[in-house]
Structure formats: C-alpha cells, structure tokens
Symmetry: none
Subunit: 460 residues, 2 copies
C-alpha cells in the first residue's frame, strides 16, 4: 500500500529531516524588521530549493505588494487527473526575538533539549511548514501522491499578511483548488490532535496621548498639568469593567453566542484552569465572568495591552514629566464582530473619556476578520481520520484564540473550505523567548499530512 | 559710606567681570561624565585662583568621597571679630549638553545676544557663583567686608551632591557659621526678586508588576490571564482621585497647610494659569482642586509618572501579552511629610489594590526631605532689604517645587538657617539646550550680595 511506503520513507528520513529543520530555523527570517529583509529572501530561496528538490514544479519566488512586501514561494504538482486539488499554506517568517536577554539559547542556533527543539519560529511555524513539505516529499519520492497540490509559503504572516489577500485575488485562476490546508495551527495537548474550526479576528492599534510640548521637569511642573502617562493609564484602566468585559461602546453587540452543543464540545478539551495557569506561569487566572477558560481563550472577544511606553525607562531615576505616552493595544474578535467597526468604537471610547487636557491619536496596524469554518466536509473527515490514524485518538474540534488572517483570505478570496490542522502546543512560547517545539509531533505531523493527502483522494 | 564704595567698585569692574564670566563658562565642567573629570578639576583651580586673587585666605581644593568624588573649593576670610560668620554655597559643575544638535550656539563658547548670555551653566549656576565671588571681591578690595566669610564651591551638585553631607559632617568644626547663603536659586520674574523659603522633597520609585512567567501570545492567552500592563494601568489610575488628590493612604496626614498670609503672598507672584500653560506647552492646566497653580507647583505634594514600560514598544505591531510592566513614579513632598513614610504608604496602597493575579515589587531610588526655612531671622531681613534696595521692589517669598538637597544638608548638618537667594529665571533652559542668563541680573546679583553681606552686620 502506497501510503505505508510514504510513511516508511518519511520515517527513514527522520535524521535528514531534523537536520533540515535546524537549517530552516537557523535563518533569521524576521519579517517585522526591515534589516532582516535579505534573510526573509534567503528563507524563501531555501524553501524554493527544497520544493524543487522533492519534485514539485513551477517553483516561483513571487514578489508581493508590487515588490514592497516580502516574497512568497509558490510550487505545484498537478498530475493527478480527476483528483481534487489541495492548496497548502505555510509561512517561513518569524517574530522578532526581543527580549533577547531572556533567551536561554541563541534564538537562531536551534538547540535540542530532550524531545524539544528550541529556536525562534520552531512552533510558529517552521516545524509545520517543513512537516507538510516533508509529507509531500515522501509522497512524491514514493510515487504515491494521488491529489493535485499547490503550495504557498508566505514571507510576511507575522506582520499580518498585508499583501496576501491581494495576491490571492491577482492569482485567483492560478490558485484554483478544491480545498485549502492551513498548517499554522496547534494541538489540544501533546497527544491530543485537533481540528480548528474557528479563529479570532485581530485589530491592532497604537494610541498616543500628548501632553506638554516637550518633556518637563517633574519638580517644576508636577501637580499643575495633566501627565499624559497618567491619562493613558486612566484610559486603559477604563477599557475593562469589574466583570472583565471590554467597555468600548457596542463592542459585544454582534458577538455570536456559543450553542449548548459547542459549549459541551469545548468542555471536552483537556484544559483545566490549573493546567492553563501552569502553562501561562501564573498563580491565578482572570477574565470575563461566566465563561470557562477555553471559551474565554477562543470564543469570546478580548482587549489586551501589548505595549506601554512613556518618559524615562532607563536604569535609575530621571525626574521627567513626559510629553507623551504610548500604548499598543489589540482586540481579538469573534464571529460576527466586524473589524472595520472596532476602530470607530475605540475612537468613540477615547472621545468620551479622554480629558480636554491632552490630545490623542490612534493608528491601526491590523484588521483581521474572525472566521468560522465548515466542519462538515469530506476534507474535514479526511483530516479527522488522518489524525485518528496517526495519534490513535479522535481529534477534538477547537476554536483558537488567535488570528490567522490567511485562513479568512483563503476562505473568502478562493471561495473554498479551509482545513486547519497543525502540531504546535499552547505553551511553546510562540512570540516570546525560548520558543520550542515538541519533536515527536514533527514526525507525527509529517505522517498526519501524508495520511490527509491520501485520505482526500481515497475516502471520498 | 563703605557699601557704596563696594558697589561703585563692582560697577567699574563690569567689563572685567563679564570677561571672567565668559572664561568660567568656557570650561566644560560636566560632573556627570567621567571624561570631563579633568575639566571639573580645572574649574576648581580657576575658582581657587580667583578667590586667592581677591584676598580670600586658606584656599584649598579638597577631595571628596575619599578622592572618588569631584573636588570642592574652600576659602575663608575671618577678620571681622564679633561679627557673624556666613557660609556661602555655590557650585562650579554643569549638566551635560545633549541634545547638542538643538543648541543654536556652542555650549562652551559663551555667546552674548542682546541682554542674554548663552552657555551651558550660565543660569545653573556659574553666573551666580561668580556674582557672589565678585561681591566678596568688591568688599575686600574696598576694605569694607564686615562679616566673616567661608566659601564652598562644590564640583558635583549636578550628580546629586553624593558626598556633600559627609563633607559637612567631616568638617563641621571648620565650617562652623551663623548662617548659610545658598546662591543656587532663581527670581520670580526678570525684575521681581525672590527669597525661597521652602523646597519640596522627593521620593522616587520603580514599580514592577509581574504576571505570566514570560511574554505570551496575546491571541492564545488573551482574555484568560490578568495582563500586568493592564493591572499597572489600573494601579496608577487609582493613585489619583477625581479631585486630583493622591490616594496613597495617609499621604496628606502630615501636610502642612498654607496660612492665609502665605497664600496671599504666593498670589503676588506674577504667574497666571495662562502663562504657566504657555510655559508648559499645554492648552489647559490640571491639578488638585482648590489650589492655585503656584500653590500646586510649590506647596502641595504630588505624585507623577516619570516612566512607563511594558511589552513591545518598537515600530509596528507585536501581539505579545507582556510578562511584566514597569512604572517609574515619584512623589514631591512638602513639609511636614516624611520621606521614610512614603514607601510604606505606596506599599500599603499596592497591597490594598493589586489583585492576587499578579506579583509586584517596589524599589526606591531617592528619599529627599522637604525643607521649610526660617523666614523670620535677621539674615532673611538682610536679604529682603538687599533685594529691595537693589531692585526697588520687595522680594516675594517663594516655595519651589523641586528639590535642592544641599539646602537640606546645610540646614541639617550645620544646624543653621539657610538663606536661598539667586538670580536665574524659570525659563533659562537649565538642563536643556540653549541655556542662558539675563546679564543685567548678573550685575544686580553682585550688588544684592554686596548689600546682603553688609546688611548682615549693619542691620542687627
């Protein structure tokens, strides 16, 4: 049976595949920092080279945003006539590494400790991008690929995929497919796979509060003018009420409530308050009253402070009364909230609550839609079976807290269902220091993707 | 009459005195930067040479901090038997010059534009240190000095006078005096002299709020754990009430209330809300209800945010849920608040208001006493009369918002009254670019100091 051949092939390649994972992780493909632009390009070349080597065709490193965006790697294999076409999505870029001093290893010198590999991008998402590539390689090398494949590996997911929608629109014909597979996802726990059917949307803002014309001496002017850092704290403090709810006007108006069935399903997830608190490294949880931690993390909208800055933050003391203060805040949105309304709600809030003693500005950096996917298709069943066969346990259906705007884009622009199946874990430290990935799931990921591609054709 | 001789002498020396001021200002005596250590030493030698030339005696350049500190110049003239001894304080060091690109002239090439001289240290405080020296020179050269004089010119005021207290203690006998004159001060406005009788104390703190063990992905954990940046904002927001009062428990318990006389006197200061708002570059003032801007700036305690930091503050967006958040805050204290109680009050506040979901720490960087000087002594009357005679207008009594630790040291360590009389202006740009000094007040300063020394003896 061909499928076993491919899995056997992949298993024999484990050492080589791990070496390639290390190679991939060693590339500092930080898309948010312009000084790493050449590294992202190098990452794209590395991916393209691998795709070429395994027998994928029409490999192209394509510019995005008229060349202003980061490049995207495309490849295809279209020799399975009458079989469905699957568009595979991954990304090769990673988050910045600060705070660097909190890393125990060099973020771009992949380091294996026990079953874990430590490196920036290990979990988000180079291990998974490479896993799906290695699944395709095993299928191609064993002559057992029975579906058509189009691969996209993006270079700017971590900046919010600003050019991805336009890219899909421009190449709509070229990218025509029956289903999309988004590998940028995670499992419910180390041995419990999941299929994600909902993702939160994201709106990201930078707020500045301006007070005096320049930094002032706090002894001279303290107590006589409104300190913009204090005003900013007042404003942020007021953005939640005592029940943990966001106070932006009309924020909850369009929120889709969970059905009883969904709440019961979500309760199956092996996530306890205690386990979640341990994963976060906190002694107690917090959040919106009357919702479980799983619901709060996936099915309820949030507003978080991502950054704060004002005045003097060096060592020691400086008695400055700062001229301005800044906060980065972001909201996670759930169906059926509309990202385009959130900025208005934030501005309405600031207009209502900011005092006349200061000026303020709001800049928006991201506006991603929440998404709710079809759970009832042959492709979802193919994924369910692949995961059950690989892990020996039925996968759970999960709502994820974060945003993968590309899922929306694939869904909306190409008009196809998206299967979201990945192998990271919640406590992998993505976006933070000491990011890591559980290596056994790199290999089980490869196997799951092999089985998925086979199931798509075989289990109609 | 001898006094007129001394004033006439000083007036004849104006050109030479201005040349010497330029010489003094040309020395880059930046005490905060170790690469300028030799310049501070050169400044001390220059001052010592001038004191020797005018007839002061027992000139010494004395090391401080066992040689680790910057030198201090001492001189004395003790030939007025049965007359009081006055300890004169000034400093010869200056602040760094950055941001250098905002200077319109070279900070160490003194430049005269109209009635103003531009140079680093012009207002803080070389013009005043030289003015009091020139007053002594005029009195000595005209054989009309009738009080005993001890002079200290410090070399590290701008780093917070770290060794000054110990110096006073070590040389307590040598420095024995009846009153101290601190020349490091300013006028109410260009033509309105002032005597400062109160300075605020300072307590400076760095607060950290700790949440998760490390930075987390805000999509993954957002809405489920307490964001330390949000908690910090809540805590800071709660530190003031709606009336602009500080809410630390017992913060106001020992605050000395202003008498009606003092309030009436402070109301004489030529400071309007509009003028103050213009100076700060704000459209509207803010502060504790029921107190004027002059009262809020000098006679009321404050709490200000000096710095804020959490999470990601670089360009663009990073969806991090920060592990910790930091604020630098400082309180300005007025008589009779005790600095040693403020940390306790802050900790009590945090203990009462910080939620169990976070940990916090408080570190203290400064604890300076507020000072209230005796306003009712023959020496204060001598200063009042000297200023009235020189400027033709009664000086105002002023409470300054900031802290001048040497005033406390002179008061505490030597156990004598301190008269604070200087000639800078609030908008001289001290510590900033384009520092300047109003030259007519250099000459009126010399005259005022001459009259003061004479009045100390003559108007018992």
């Amino acid at each position: 049976m061909k499928m076993m051949d491919a899995i056997q092939y992949a298993n024999k390649q484990r050492e080589k595949n791990l070496d390639e994972l290390k190679e991939f992780l060693a590339l500092p493909t930080i898309s948010t920092l312009s000084e790493h632009r050449a590294d992202v390009q190098r990452g794209a070349e590395w991916v393209a080279e691998k795709l070429r080597g395994m027998g994928m065709e029409n490999i192209a490193i394509m510019p995005t945003g008229d060349g202003a965006g980061q490049p995207l790697v495309y490849a295809e294999w279209l020799h399975a006539s009458d079989a469905p076409t699957i568009l595979v999505y991954g990304h090769l870029d990673v988050q910045p590494v600060d705070p660097l001093n909190e890393w125990l290893t060099n973020p771009f010198e992949p380091t294996i400790v026990g079953d874990w590999i430590y490196a920036r991008g290990a979990s988000d998402m180079k291990a998974q991008t490479l896993a799906v590539m290695k699944a395709l390689e095993a299928l191609l090398k064993t002559d057992s690929l029975r579906v058509n494949i189009k691969v996209i590996v993006e270079g700017e997911e971590e900046v919010g995929s600003p050019n991805f929608g336009a890219f899909l629109r421009e190449y709509k014909e070229k990218l025509k497919c029956d289903v999309a597979l988004n590998c940028d996802s995670q499992m419910a726990s180390q041995d419990l796979p999941s299929i994600v059917y909902g993702l939160r949307g994201l709106c990201y803002f930078e707020i500045w509060v301006y007070g005096p014309a320049q930094d002032l001496h706090s002894g001279l002017f303290g107590g006589t003018i409104h300190n913009p850092a204090q005003v900013l704290c007042d404003l942020i403090s007021g953005m939640h009420d005592a029940a943990g709810r966001v106070t932006l006007p009309h924020f909850y108006d369009e929120v889709r409530e969970l059905s009883e069935t969904e709440r019961a399903e979500l309760a199956r997830l092996p996530i306890t308050d205690e386990g979640w608190a341990n994963a976060a490294g906190v002694s107690a949880l917090w959040g919106e009253k009357n919702f479980s931690v799983v619901e709060r993390a996936g099915a309820r909208p949030t507003l978080e402070v991502n950054g704060l800055y004002a005045g003097f933050i060096g060592e020691g003391s400086k008695t400055v009364l700062p001229a301005k203060a800044m906060a980065k805040i972001s909201t996670r949105l759930v169906p059926n909230q509309r990202p385009e309304k959130i900025k208005q709600q934030l501005e309405d809030y600031l207009r209502a609550h900011a005092p006349d003693t200061v000026r303020w500005t709001v800049e928006q950096f991201a506006a991603g839609e929440p998404v709710l996917l079809n759970r009832d298709s042959r492709y979802v069943r193919a994924a369910q079976d692949a995961l059950q066969e690989t892990f020996g346990v039925a996968p759970v259906f999960q709502l994820l807290g974060w945003s993968v705007p590309v899922t929306n884009s694939l869904n909306d622009e190409l008009g196809v269902d998206v299967v979201v199946m990945g192998f990271g874990l919640a406590d992998d430290g993505t976006h933070g220091p000491n990011e890591h990935f559980y290596l056994p799931n790199f290999y089980r990921g490869i196997e799951s993707y092999i089985r998925f591609f086979q199931n798509c054709e075989e289990k109609k």
